[in-house]
Amino acid sequence: MPNKIIDLSVDFCGVRFLNPFMLSSSPVSNSAEMIARAFEAGWGGVAYKTLVSDRIPIYHPSPRMHGYHYGEKRLIGLQNVEQTTDRGLQPNLRDIAWLKKRYPKHIVMASIMGFSNQEWADLAKASADAGADMLELNFSCPHMTVEGSGAKVGQAFDLVQKFTETVRGVTKLPLVAKMTPNIADMNEPAMAAKRGGADGISAINTVAGISEVGLDDYVPRPNVFGKGAMSGYSGPAIKPIGLKFIAQMAKNPELALPLSGMGGIETWVDALEYLLVGATTVQVTTGIIHYGYRIVEDMIEGLSDYMARRGIARVADLVGKAAGNVHETGEFDVMRQGIATYDLDRCVGCGQCYIVCRDAGGSALSWDAEKRRPNLDDDACLSCMVCSFVCPVTGLISFREMPNSWKRKPTVTLG
């Protein structure tokens, strides 16, 4: 019997993608040579690294990036001061044309950034002429060295609308406006982009941050010859922020635009989470900086198997499935309560649960020093679940609802 290949294709802003997995506009989409290899590896599309006019030369700070590690775990975050493309406009346009000729079924979304209204128009036209399938308007780079560009635009909502209108005026290609997370409510700039004629929204660009400071030289990283900066922070550590913004926009009935999600995606699970809160496509850079293009194989296989297991025929059926479950916290039913419950047969006796329950929880555990086992006073458990986060045995500690009649003990008062 032949394999029944799961169809992962999606329609995003009227454009058909082989699968929802895209390279985001970044060093991983810097040239046709690189992107061709990514397409061969399985990526469905690319946000081609941001094009700029040749009027202002782009110089990259050196070094460009800094890896943020956690213990022996590498790159839980990545700090970068990478700029837009530093290649000439013409070589990039030729690369786009080559890619479209060579990979007609793969989607090339040209990312552009003008430093004036006219440049937005010129770059849009040039990209369309080169054969780009769609355009991504970069309103969001948090660390542009050119004044009045990048996230500075994304934080000035009237400019978002104005530049989108400008581009809308010169091309019929689908337009995706890329948002900065360095604001409070993403719906405001997203709505501005919609008013300007955008067909979709992509988010998030990197989060402005300082990941580390040199202890010898007092310079935030990366240390660019004695100077640091507040610059773009990305990677697994920012996934919760990205999911939040996508959900925020997905739940806005006025916006009602297709979304492309990104921020900390490395696995099919991360990608699926973005789909579930409302993204139709997902974009990846830091995951590729960590592991290379090959990770898409696991995204495709993992998502396909998940869909087969759940009997889901189309990716579109997953999009936004969880958005309806994102509520205001005031809507919670706080009358229902539960506690942590322990499967002590699997306990290894480290006692970390005891430490954190005492120091950060409800002091609901006692410690049997001889047996090296925790003992839960059910009635004192706050169900904060911090014990389960430090337990080295997955699933040993779980949550269990208590009956309605159950009452929690009040916290001990001294004095």
Partner: protein, 446 residues
Amino acid sequence: MEPGFTFDQAVAEAGRCLLCHEPPCSKGCPAGTDPGTFIRKFRLRNVTGAIRTIKENNILGGVCGVLCPAARMCEKACSACGIDRPVRIGKIQRFLVEHAREIGFNPFDNPRYMKPLPRREKVAVIGAGPSGLSCAAELAKNGVGVTVFEERDEPGGVLRYGVPSFRFDERFLGHEIDDLKSLGVEFRCSTPLRGRGEVEALLKKEYQAVFIGTGLWEPMRLFDDSGRGEGVFSSIRFLEAFRSGNTGEPANACSGKAVAIVGGGSVAIDCARVARKLGARDVYLVYRRSYEQMPAEEDERREALAEGIHFLLLNQPVGIVRGDGKRLSGLRLVRTQLGGEGASGRRKPVEIPGTEWILDVQTVVEAIGNQAPAGSPDLYPGVTVTGARLIVADAGTGRTSLPGVFAGGDIVRGPATVVEAVADGKAAARAVMAHFELQTPNGGEK
């Protein structure tokens, strides 16, 4: 010496630690090592603090990190065993001590280190082995003037003259000796004490207390072949020659030859591996009991097997065979079987009558244990010793029958581990301080 962890390896291994409440590893060390604390400090990037925790507790922290049979001590209790395998505590400990040197951190030359007020008392430490060194460090940290008397050219005792260099590097030892010197400990090497009562005489001179940690340096012998020809070594002579680089004699005895090592302990394993490295064609480890009863550590036994050493178990050596010109040509053996439990709790080997045979070897190394030298009690006639010339000392304090004289390590315990000797040295130092407090209740500060 086996390479230690790199920084990345140490971080990864420490990342496996479960950071236990009441860490069981910290209860598993005779010398009071606290891995639960130093690994936590390392994990929280308090690297200097981790080093301080190790070194303030045990001046030979690096030595123990390399040589300790951690698998049956701190690591045995590790909660990570419940996940997969124990955290390699010994390796992390060694890494931290090596890292201290790399970053130039000395916990005893640091504002956090409370330099003790110098005291009037002086203590003589006899023997610069593990127990003596740890006792000296502990006393120096209490402001006591310490002089270590060592009969050999360099301090270290068994660490320098016993353990082969492929297991323990003497440069590594040198760094820890430097730490002792930085605490103000004075070393008098090449200073053997020989005269009757000479140890006790030190008490009457400038020293208010004496610690004896002279170890066991006289080989037990199997064959009374006083008129023997070439080819038979004691483990002490064999290893010391290898250690000092003067390998001529053992090398000649091993190169291209068949060698029998008699014994089943760690020293026998060391000898077997040395013989192999010196080019022996075949090395037989001859042991009268079976594999399970061997006192050598499990990992040592496995490594020796992996290096191609033949374990000849359940055979009792009964004689040396010499051919023409008294050349050694074989080891006479009798096969044994295990009988009931003996005094040591291990099953006793029982010779099987009529099973004598000859193992064709050209060299025999006896590694069946060491004992206190024959004349050793004469150095301290006032101190009670056992029939085996071991010093009788109180387990928790090292107090001997003679007030002011303390003892520890192998000369008290018989053959034991480095970390037990360290524990003895520390305990004796505490007892010495208590002894001084009794004598000068108002404190002995100068």
